[in-house]
């Protein structure tokens, strides 16, 4: 397996249904003469999963026979738009709601005092009758929702 394929198969420690490639945090894999430099980018500034991602990448690449180093890219900042179609399908199959398009802006960012307007459908029953419970969840990247149809609570990956 080439180095890119090994790195791309490493999964996110907090959402293990996604590979780092699905999540869009894998930015670059450079290989030369058995040495590999992988570049990843944090989803959020304080993402505590970065250290585990780095360790998992190094271990998997070492097992595959590469001398690996992991670097960080801060720019451009990660956006939820980088989650692949495959990743979005995996999220839904595991009961999570995938993010809509990230907000684009011209000029100052407007304040939003009403609950964030999103077209969120329940990943369990498909109903569009869903209510936001909280903009923050078990990880920085998720909001909490509840389905009014089947009453199931679920997580929504936020748009950033």
């Amino acid at each position: 397996m080439n180095a890119y394929a090994v790195a791309a198969s490493v999964t996110d420690p907090e959402m293990p249904m996604l590979t780092l490639e699905d999540l869009g945090v894998l930015r670059d894999v450079r290989e030369s003469g058995g040495k590999v430099v992988v570049t990843i980018t944090p989803t959020y500034s304080g993402c505590p999963a970065m250290a585990t991602m780095r360790d998992d990448l190094v271990h998997r690449l070492t097992d595959a026979g590469y001398a690996a180093r992991v670097e960080v890219a801060l720019s451009p900042a990660w956006t939820s738009d980088w989650i692949t179609e495959h990743g979005r399908r995996a999220l839904r199959e595991h009961g999570l709601s995938a993010p809509g398009p990230a907000p684009t802006r011209n000029g100052p960012i407007p304040l939003t005092l009403l609950p964030t307007a999103r077209a969120v459908t329940c990943p369990r029953c498909g109903s569009a009758r869903t209510d936001l419970t909280s903009e923050y969840g078990a990880t920085a990247c998720k909001a909490l929702y509840r389905c009014s149809e089947c009453a199931e609570p679920f997580e929504h990956v936020k748009e950033i």
Binding site: G46, R54, V70, A73, L74, L111, A140, I160
Partner: protein, 288 residues
């Protein structure tokens, strides 16, 4: 009847085997640290003064670090589980901003970093967070005063996130590419923080008589520290637009209280640091 203590090393080995991996140093604060700016080019552009840039990043870092710590004090104490989780998440975002900014400051001006004993594995950002005295912290006083009730925290977060977001939108165009990248990333996080605080501000203001009373008390207590915050971040009219928008829908007037005199810090910071830094300072080599 007596029980003999089972020897943990017998047959199955110690239950603690494996916890440390191959690291035998028993480092107290985690293992295997890595520079949060690993691979990032931290060369200061020629047209910038490295010491000035470092001091500026340090001030931005200290605001985030101290505010993060105050927010984290709510963990397990917030009015309900959702707010507990929300405040912890916001604290985590700010801690991440602080870590990146501290590392950026240290890379631009190594003389800022306190000296530690030889062989200490403490990375530069932790040396700056845990081994400086209160007098060397550059944060504004608004973030350091002790927590009050939830309404006080909401008022503080609204003022802080509004001012910091406006500044970060501007800093995303900074000539230092590292600061610019940290700011561009922070903008996305601060947008959520400001919306969260703005919604709660409105909810508490227009909620019950008691929630309104508490919100106004919190805002009035913090307002003397607002001028210093606005000055530190060069807050322009765009900040007033946002605050006036929240105040208007909440039917709240700007408090008429004078700015707090002086500069530097209140004694609240040394108390906070005493608790935050005690373990690290007791074990500067991280060994026990």
């Amino acid at each position: 009847m007596s029980h003999s203590t089972p020897d943990p090393n017998e047959e199955h080995g110690s239950v603690y085997d494996g916890l440390l991996g191959t690291d035998t140093s028993q480092w107290a604060f985690g293992t295997d640290f890595e520079d949060p700016l690993a691979g990032v080019d931290t060369t200061v552009p020629d047209d910038l003064d490295a010491a000035e840039l470092a001091a500026y990043c340090l001030a931005l870092a200290d605001d985030a670090l101290v505010m993060s710590h105050r927010l984290s004090e709510w963990c397990s104490n917030a009015p309900d589980l959702e707010e507990d989780i929300a405040l912890a998440n916001i604290a985590l975002d700010l801690l991440g901003q602080a870590r990146l900014l501290l590392a950026r400051a240290a890379a631009a001006d190594a003389s800022l970093v306190p000296a530690l004993p030889d062989g200490s594995p403490v990375p530069v950002e932790d040396a700056l967070a845990f081994f400086r005295e209160a007098i060397d912290f550059r944060n504004v006083r608004l973030v350091e005063v002790a927590n009050g009730d939830f309404a006080h925290t909401v008022a503080r977060l609204l003022l802080f996130a509004t001012v910091r977001l406006a500044a970060f939108e501007r800093l995303a165009g900074h000539r230092d590419p590292v600061l610019s990248a940290i700011a561009a990333k922070g903008v996305k996080e601060l947008t959520y923080h400001r919306d969260y605080a703005g919604r709660w501000f409105l909810t508490l203001a227009q909620g019950t008589e008691e929630s309104r009373r508490r919100l106004l008390a919190g805002l009035t207590a913090l307002w003397p520290l607002y001028a210093e915050l606005a000055r530190a971040y060069d807050a322009g009219p765009e900040v007033d637009v946002v605050l006036d928008q929240v105040f208007a829908v909440s039917a709240v007037e700007r408090p008429e209280v004078a700015p707090m005199a002086g500069s530097g810090h209140t004694e609240a910071l040394s108390r906070m640091l005493a608790e935050m830094q005690v373990v690290a300072r007791a074990h500067p080599r991280g060994l026990w």
